[in-house]
Symmetry: C2
Subunit: 265 residues, 2 copies
DNA sequence: CGCGATTTGTGCACCTGTTCACAAGCGCTT
DNA sequence: AAGCGCTTGTGAACAGGTGCACAAATCGCG
């Protein structure tokens, strides 16, 4: 399957810029109204562009970039056209300024401080993840409720107690948090984070968080992903079995090809 | 934000049942054509239903289940209506048969065998993840290329060398694999998995995999999720700043309220 | 300097998915 | 048995997203 699934099929609606006070503002030239679907693809374009830059390219065609990002080229062009024009007809896109523009739009000029709460099995792995730093983020704080874990150094940064959340979130100006606590603790921790000033949460716990409107929540759930794959496996085998039966029927009837053709026509 | 984002906004298209040989088959009564968006939400409904069942409920209204799953109730009803009718007007849905039906559709009756490749930082955490087992899957094999890791026991299961992939995938009838190798190795490993018979891959490496049409690939990328959140942070602060400026302008002009009202009208 | 090859940017038709709003159906009560 | 309140299931309108197909723009070359 060359068109790859990347998360978030559900519940997207609306143009991202068109928020409450937009009547006063219109859509600023420096901050266009982007379709949510486009926003979700920009990071993938950015990754592909960085890869191309590293492998010595200066420009890339929509076809080439689309291939590298796993989308179709018309979609890619339309997405990029929302950012303003960074391509040259007959040539392609200049990689460097395009990278700059996407990074600007995504708010990655300044390295964003991120807090990670719940330094268990998963949290440990995340805390040690290099791609975190290389793609625009800085783990500014680790928190856990377990006192035996507090003080532990991971990747050079000390685990602090969740009681310190208000203080640290303020002093480090943290607006994004990653939640890797057990499901049962997630809502309470999220509430504390929001109270401390966090406005975006990436939630790994398998629960729906109930938070104020203005807080952005994204959810990653391994089991959900596997279950979707499982559905497709089930479908494939069900179809296969039915197909086999149909073919058997056809063969018994004596003219399988005609049967196929008839029904299809 | 009460409407939570759950992954996969991009590139979904088409009704899931309507695949190549469907002309012969029609849509089977036991395997309805589900919209892809619906499929992506079923796991969330299932999780919510299990939770409700555990907390002593027998039935639930669309409103209640929608709340627990973080969607709106009309959407939920439409989704469930695709599975056939499991609700009673005036009452709600019977939890037990509904759970059964969703599990059947998702192919979770039999516990599916999953292989995990790349037992590093992240792979370790995944291998030890309890939610794996509790939500319909069984880690049937762990693989790594690093010989010093081969033989290591994780959660009672031994790490094997990737050279054993063909043999083990066959003997354990594995159709789903989780890929947690470095990006550079991912494509090659994916090719090996597919050659061995794997038909669904959950990819944690930040690369687009190029695989045959009939292989389902889903991708989870932490950095992408954070970058989407970063975009929203950027937007929020840009809007905030513009709003402040607009208000300041209004105040200087002498009639901020009128200005606001005028432009909005 | 003009022409052909190339590639972007986009209008448009199509399609999927969401949401509203309400008729139909069910059970409980009187 | 009829009425009433509640909740499902769905038709229909709408919104958003996708992809085709082509005109417009640019480059390189003769
Ligand atoms: N491990 C995985 O691969 C994996 C995969 C997908 C999802 N998840 C989810 O991620 C979460 C964490 O999984 P895990 O395997 O790391 O679990 P874990 O039990 O190993 O780690 C949880 C950590 O959270 C800490 N914690 C508990 N209550 C807390 C609180 N109130 N505040 C702060 N910290 C608290 C614990 O002390 C522990 O360190 C779970 O919700 C799990 O379902 C895990
Ligand atoms: N650690 C995280 O939190 C995290 C988060 C998101 C994404 N990722 C991605 O997940 C992948 C793994 O991350 P990690 O931090 O665990 O890296 P890691 O280096 O700790 O682990 C990688 C493992 O893969 C093994 N490996 C290397 N080549 C292999 C091959 N050809 N076949 C089989 N195994 C092979 C290595 O021996 C090692 O055990 C990376 O692509 C990373 O970008 C990691």
């Amino acid at each position: 399957m060359s068109q790859q699934r990347t998360g978030h099929e559900a519940g997207i609606t609306g143009r991202v810029g068109a928020v409450t006070p937009s009547a006063v503002l219109g859509s600023q030239p420096d901050f266009p109204d982007l379709p949510e679907a486009t926003v979700a693809r920009l990071p993938e374009y950015l990754r592909a562009l960085h890869h191309l830059a590293e492998t010595g390219h200066d420009t890339v065609s929509s076809e080439g970039l689309a291939l590298a990002a796993g989308v179709n080229s018309a979609k890619l062009r339309k997405d990029l056209s929302h950012l303003g024009s960074y391509g040259t007809r007959g040539v392609g896109y200049d990689i460097e300024p395009l990278v700059g523009q996407i990074e600007y739009i995504l708010g990655l000029n300044k390295r964003r401080a991120v807090a990670l709460v719940g330094v268990g099995n998963l949290g440990h792995a995340l805390a040690g993840y290099a791609g975190f730093a290389s793609r625009g983020f800085r783990i500014a704080a680790l928190f856990d409720a377990d006192l035996t874990r507090v003080g532990e150094l991971i990747n050079g940064i000390a685990v602090r107690h969740i009681g310190d959340i208000p203080e640290v979130v303020k002093s480090e100006a943290i607006s994004i948090a990653v939640l890797a606590t057990p499901a049962g603790a997630a809502q309470a921790v999220a509430d504390q984070l929001v109270a401390a000033g966090v406005t975006s949460i990436l939630n790994f716990a398998p629960v729906v968080l109930n938070l104020p409107e203005q807080v952005d929540v994204r959810k990653v759930d391994l089991a959900v992903e596997l279950q979707i794959l499982s559905f497709h496996e089930h479908r494939k085998s069900a179809r296969g079995a039915e197909l086999a039966k149909a073919m058997a029927r056809g063969a018994v009837n004596g003219s399988p090809v005609a049967t196929l053709g008839e029904v299809a026509a």
